[in-house]
Each structure stands twice: as C-alpha cells, then as structure tokens.
C-alpha cells in the first residue's frame, strides 16, 4: 500500500491511508501529539466531541494545497498526501485550545482534593498544560446527584465532561442500548435506562475510559490516593478476558485492578469485571513487574522503582530551599 506523507509541526512521517492526524502525530511522538479527551483508539466513532485536539491544516495536500478554512479535530480528520499541520507551532491552535479547556472547566467542580481520579486525571493534566490559574466564570456551577450504576460503578455526573467514551463502551462492548446521554445542551447527562444497572461482564471498562472522575470503581472509592499505590503488571488465567491487568498494591494488598494503559492513557486490552472487582487477593495474580506509567502524572513523577537509583540532591530539587 502506498504511504502518505504528512508534516506535523515540522516533523515529517509517512503513514498508511486512513490514518488520522492524531494517530500520525502520536507516531511522531509526545512533542507534537495534541491532547485528546474524547478520542479512544479502541472505540469506533469516538472523538470529535471535546475539541481539545484541534489543529490547523496549513496545507491540505499536495494536490490541493489550500489550507483548511477552520481548525479541525485531528482525531477525526484523516491525513492526505503532502498535508502540513500545525499544532503547538500555531498560536491560533494554542488560543483555541485554551478556550476549550476553559469551557471544559467552567462547570467542572474542581474537587480534586476529594476526587479519586486525582493523580491520573486527564483533565488535570490538560488544564495544567493549557489552562489559566483562575476562573473567569462567575455563575453557579451545574451539579447533579451521584448515582450508582449497579453495585460496582459510581457515576458522579457533576465531574463529567461528556466525552461519550463510556457510551461507546456500553454500545460496543455490551449488548443493548442501556446507557447513553439524556437531555441536551449544558444539562445533558450520562444516564442508564431509568437508572438500570449496566449489568455486563465488561461494563467496568467504562471506569478505565473515563478521563475524569465521573465514573469510579465503588470497590476502590476513597481507599487510597493513587500515587500511594504501586502499579504492577500482572496476569491470571481468565476464561472471559486476556487476564492481563495492572494491580495497584499497597504493601502486599491489592487495592484495585485496572486495564494496562499506554502512554496516551488508553487501555491495551479490555478486562472483565471478575478480574477487576473480584480478584483482590495477591494469590490470584502472577506479578510480572512494575508498570511504568508514562502519562504525565503524579504517579510517574514518583516513580518508586527509580527511588533507589536516583536520590534527590539539592541541585535536582525543583524548588529552591527557602532561607
């Protein structure tokens, strides 16, 4: 198959037809990859909603070099041969992204201190990188009551950014249309069909795809901050899924089980609810070794396996000692 050449922020790469700008950028690497809050490689038709991945196409293609009139969602725009894209090099993109981040935050409760997602929250990362340090929004924020989606998942809609990922999980991994969006506009909410439990062996993956703390694991809620735990790659024989997961340990106790996430925060393989919720005994798992968390987060800052090799010296301390 012939390859298409695309240049993103002055890095050129060749990719097969059908590749999106976002995928191409990820192939080049972190330095050009736009942030993505709603796109999820494993979920068909995901992406396009959050608009954080907007980029500027300064040259459409070799054949039609005209620039695209508007910024485009890189997760849903496929590459053309000779296309030139600006991401971090375009002030227009940076400005628009700042706007998007601000919009995502105006109704977010910013309750990170009491949120289980803190430390592995994509919205935290995104706002740290692109947001402003104060809010210009002076109105009451929207709130919802928390609801239980079955006995294992808590939905805290107030934190939701409507990325639609959990809706796609429910549509694509579980049968029936029991979980979706009701109402419209800024009062839209994720909901199950008249508070039905989403009852399916793979429903727990909704928790993993949620970029914020809207869907959390009820067997783990408020048990520990994630950065106090040691993520370990582990596997077990499972007749429902591959059994390849990450167990999050404190001492010898397993506090929670999640899918293995790559450097973009997306899981490699879906895991089943049995592995996720019911196998919390160290004996259930064969531990392979420490899991490297690549996504920028407090967890990766605190790499425990590095602790022995790397002892902080005054020069490497990020802040100057006062006095």
């Amino acid at each position: 198959m012939s390859l298409l050449k695309v240049t993103i922020d002055n890095h050129t790469i060749e990719v097969p037809a059908g590749t999106t700008i976002l995928q191409a950028a990820r192939l080049i690497g972190k330095e050009v990859a736009p942030p993505a809050m709603c796109y999820y490689t494993k979920l068909a038709t995901s992406g396009g909603y959050c608009r954080t991945c907007l980029v500027k196409v300064s040259k459409g293609s070799e054949k039609d070099p005209r620039p695209m009139p508007k910024l485009v969602a890189s997760c849903r725009t496929t590459v053309m041969d000779g296309m030139e894209v600006q991401n971090f090099t375009s002030p227009e993109v940076i400005e628009a992204r700042k706007g998007v981040v601000e919009f995502l935050l105006i109704n977010h409760p910013l309750d990170c201190p009491v949120c289980d997602q803190a430390g592995e929250c994509h919205l935290q990362d995104l706002s740290y990188e692109n947001g402003r340090s104060y809010s210009r929004y002076e109105f009451e924020r929207r709130t919802f009551d928390k609801i239980d989606i079955g006995d294992k998942i808590k939905l805290h809609m107030t934190r939701c950014i409507l990325c639609y990922r959990c809706v796609k999980v429910a549509d694509q991994l579980t049968p029936g249309r029991g979980h979706g969006v009701i109402n419209r506009g800024d009062v839209s909410e994720i909901s199950t069909y008249i508070e039905h439990a989403v009852d399916n062996e793979f429903s727990g993956n909704m928790i993993d795809v949620c970029p914020v703390g809207a869907l959390t694991d009820r067997t783990f809620r408020f048990k520990s901050r994630v950065w106090f735990l040691k993520p370990m790659d582990a596997h077990r024989d499972c007749d429902k899924c591959s059994g390849k997961a990450v167990v999050w340990k404190y001492g010898n106790d397993i506090y929670r089980v999640t899918g293995r996430k790559d450097q973009w925060g997306e899981v490699d393989e879906w895991i089943c609810n049995t592995c996720r919720y019911d196998k919390k005994d160290a004996k259930d798992w064969t531990v392979e070794g420490p899991r490297k968390i690549e996504k920028t987060s407090v967890i990766s800052q605190n790499h425990y396996e590095a602790g022995t090799k790397f002892v902080a010296s005054p020069e490497t301390l990020p802040v100057k000692q006062l006095s």
């Binding site: 396009g48 608009r51 969602a73 706007g99 919009f103 950014i161 506009g185 800024d186």
Partner: protein, 453 residues
C-alpha cells in the same frame, strides 16, 4: 408587480385540495419530468437555474444533486428539511399550510431526478397540525396515482413519508435530522462523510429545504434558463421572506431576488414601513443566526451602494459591515427596541437548543447567555462586554456543527455595532431595570466616523 412562482395561487380557496391544485396547473412538472425528461436532464435544468439552497447556507442545489453518490444496488434518499425552527423564519410553514401539494409535487420531481424511491419530509414537532395537512395531501396524491407504484404508467415508484420531529432546533441541521429520522438522538454527525455519500441509513442522501424543493416545480415547468432570468448574478429566482418585527405589514412575501432592501421595508407592496411612524433602529435580515445590521447599514452597504435582497449584497462587507440572507427571516427593530435584550433573547435560544455534544457550544452558549442576562438586567460590568467578544471568538469555528457559529455571530455583531448600548447598560443600571427603557430614552446606533486613509 413582482413575479411569483411559489405563492402564485396562495389566495385561491381550498388550494390545499388536490382538485383545486390540479385545476391551477398542479402536477404538470411531474408529468413533464417522468414522461419527457431523463433524471440527468432535470439535474441539468436545476443547475442552469442557479437555484441555491433556501435553508440558510445557500449552497447551489444543482451542484449538491450532482455530488450524490450512485453506487449500484444501494438505495438513495431525498429528505425534505421542514424543521424550520430558526427564530424569525416561518416561510416553510406558510407554504406547506397553503399549498402542500406544491411541496409534494416538488418531492416527486426531485426524487425522480435523484433516483430515490423512498423520500421523507421531516417536519418540526411544533408544526404537528401542518403534518396533518401534509398527510392528507399525500393520501390524496396516492389515491390519484401521483405517488406509489408505477406513477403515470412510467414504471417509477415513489413512497413519501412525513416524520414529525420532537421539537428541537438542532434537528434542522441536516445530519442531526438524519440521526433523528433514523430514530436516534438528534446529534449532528461529524463530517465528512457528507450525506451525499453516506446519509440516511448510511446511503447517499440529499437534504433540501422545503422552499428549495418547491422551487424545482417552476424550474422543471419553465426551464432553468427562464428561472435564472429572475434575479441578479448568482442570486436567481424568487425567495420567500418571513418579515416580522416593528413593521406595518408582517408576513410572508415572495420577492424577486434583487429587490432593494429599502423598497422591501418601506414600500406598501411589502413591509409597508416601520410601524407607528417610528424610526428604524436595526435589522436582522436572515434569521436569528445572522449578524444584526444598524440602521445606516441596512439600506446601503458600507461603500454607499444600495443594498439588495440577494445573497451577495446582504453579505457585502463581510461580517464587518454586512450580514447574510440566511433563511430569509427578516426582522426589523424600531428605535424603542433594546439590542442587548434582543441579543440575550437569541442567546437564550441557542443555549437552550445546543445539543451538548461539543464543549465550546455546550458550555460557551450557556456562559454567553448568563453574561448577557446580567448585562441586560443592569448587573454587568464593562469587562463583560469584552468577555462576550472573546467567548464568541472561542466558540466560532471550533464546533462540530454551525450551531456554535450561529450562537456566536449575533453576539459578536451586536457588540460590534451597538457597543455603546451595552455600555449604557453598565452605566445606567437603574434605567435598564425597566425592560422597556428604550421607550423612554431611545438609543440609536452611532455611525463610526470615517477613517481617513
């Protein structure tokens, strides 16, 4: 007297019945199309006519039709967009109420041209009674053999259905409409693919406005060239205008493209001037989504030329000093109206109608509305005005569908031309507490001093 093509007989009693409609020459285009023309010839006539979409965007209809993919063994669909929910626009309703058979005739001729054997009219939920009128008319057409199997013995089959929406403005956006028609939540799709390639049920689909489809009837009857003789430049034919606001004669008018705006507002043939002898303050010429124009830019463009009722002339000057023909919802404001209140009102509409898929529109429309509400009530501050300009800019162009733009443009334009009025709301909170403050102390637009070269 200006030529009429769509509202020719709209005062004839019982025009909505098939016999009266037939006696006025109705269904001639179906006979001509099915018996004497090939689908390609019809598309060619539509191209020659220069007809542009009457739903708002003004995309050339013939070109849209020729983009329709025609893969073997895959059905094609024609969908009529009768969702008409843009504030200030009510022409499609009038047409369907008075003359439902004209739309049905247009649907048959157009479906034949596009090779569709199943077609839909998607009508706005609030027009429930109009859907009854259409359904009665469709039943008559079936009974007389204009719809169904083997129409006029030509072997062409067509089924026509009316689908009533649930009352959402966003379902007028063509891809949201298709989702809704498929029985799903009316969220706009991410384009591409465009409906011409993958539309209803993933099949090639053309979505056209009611008036666009009705205009196909005279085009086929008289020929595209004849149609193109009316109008100026790339704005051909006639256009239905829904005129409302502070004018003497609100209503639906069929105009020839190119009528001067001044004539349209002030002549007795049309709006009949500003009501109660007041002065005109502003005008929104194309429905709530298009930029508002201050009095001095309504009848003349910034360069001093007469502004005409055409796509080009109304948008002359871009968004700096122009607006758009849009869907033809022509709203006129007199000197006592408050632009801030009007902008808030529009903004409230878009906030309420946003589907909530994409973050800039979902969050931004609500934020703009709240800030405008605060300003309108005299509780805002000067920074709010710039904040609004910035929010509008952050929404515009960054969303999935044009509803985001439609929410941002009116706000940006109102502040551009009427900033002093927004400032007035900050400076005199006591006065603006009365929502009719404009009656006591009219605030007229301020024409900016010419900039010396």
């Amino acid at each position: 007297m200006s030529r009429k093509l769509l509202l020719t007989h709209d005062n004839v009693p019982n025009l909505h019945t098939i016999d009266v409609y037939r006696s006025k020459g109705g269904y001639a285009s179906v006979e001509k199309a099915l018996k004497k023309m090939t689908p390609e010839e019809i598309v060619e006539e539509v191209k020659k006519s220069g007809l542009r979409g009457r739903g708002g965007a003004g995309f050339p209809t013939g070109m849209k039709w020729s983009f329709l993919a025609k893969p073997e063994g895959v059905p094609r669909y024609l969908v009529c967009n009768a969702d008409e929910s843009e504030p200030g626009t009510f022409k499609d309703r009038y047409l369907m109420e008075r003359n439902p058979h004209l739309l049905i005739e247009g649907m048959i001729t157009s479906s034949f041209a596009l090779g569709a054997n199943t077609s839909y009219i998607y009508i706005r939920g609030e027009y429930f009674y109009v859907s009854r009128i259409l359904e009665t008319a469709i039943a008559e057409a079936y009974a007389k053999g204009w719809l169904g199997k083997n129409i006029l013995g030509t072997g062409y089959n067509l089924d026509l259905y009316v689908q009533v929406g649930a009352g959402a403005y966003i379902c007028g956006e063509e891809t949201a409409l298709l989702e809704s028609l498929e029985g799903k939540r009316g969220n706009p799709r991410i384009k591409p693919p465009f409906p011409a390639i993958a539309g209803l049920y993933g099949c090639p689909t053309v979505v056209n406005n009611v008036e666009t489809i009705a205009a196909v009837v005279p085009i086929v009857n008289d020929g595209g060239d004849e149609y193109a003789k009316i109008g100026i430049g790339r704005s051909t034919g006639t256009k239905l205008i829904s005129a409302s606001g502070n004018i003497n004669k609100p209503g639906v008018y069929e105009i020839e493209m190119g009528v001067p705006v001044e004539e349209f507002i002030f002549s007795d043939q049309y709006c009949g001037g500003i009501a109660n002898g007041k002065r005109m303050k502003a005008c929104v010429p194309g429905g709530s989504s298009v930029p508002i124009l201050p009095d001095y830019l309504v009848c003349k463009t910034a360069t001093g030329e007469d502004r005409l009722m055409t796509y080009e002339s109304l948008s002359d000057g871009g968004f700096a000093t122009g607006s758009m023909l849009g869907s033809g919802g022509f709203i006129v404001y007199d000197e006592h109206q408050c632009v801030v209140r009007n902008t808030w009102n529009f903004s409230r509409f878009y906030h309420h109608e946003s589907c909530g898929q994409c973050s800039p529109c979902r969050e931004g429309t609500g934020w703009m509305e709240r800030v405008l509400h605060r300003l309108e009530k005299g509780m805002g501050n000067m920074n709010d005005i710039d904040l609004l300009v910035e929010l509008a800019k952050k929404i515009e162009g960054n969303t999935i569908c044009p509803l985001g733009d439609a929410a941002a443009w009116p706000v940006a334009a109102a502040i551009k031309h009427f900033r002093h009025e927004f400032e007035y709301h900050v400076l005199y909170p006591e006065k603006v507490k009365d929502s009719k403050h404009g009656h006591k102390e009219p605030i007229m637009p301020v024409k900016p001093a010419p900039v010396m070269a």
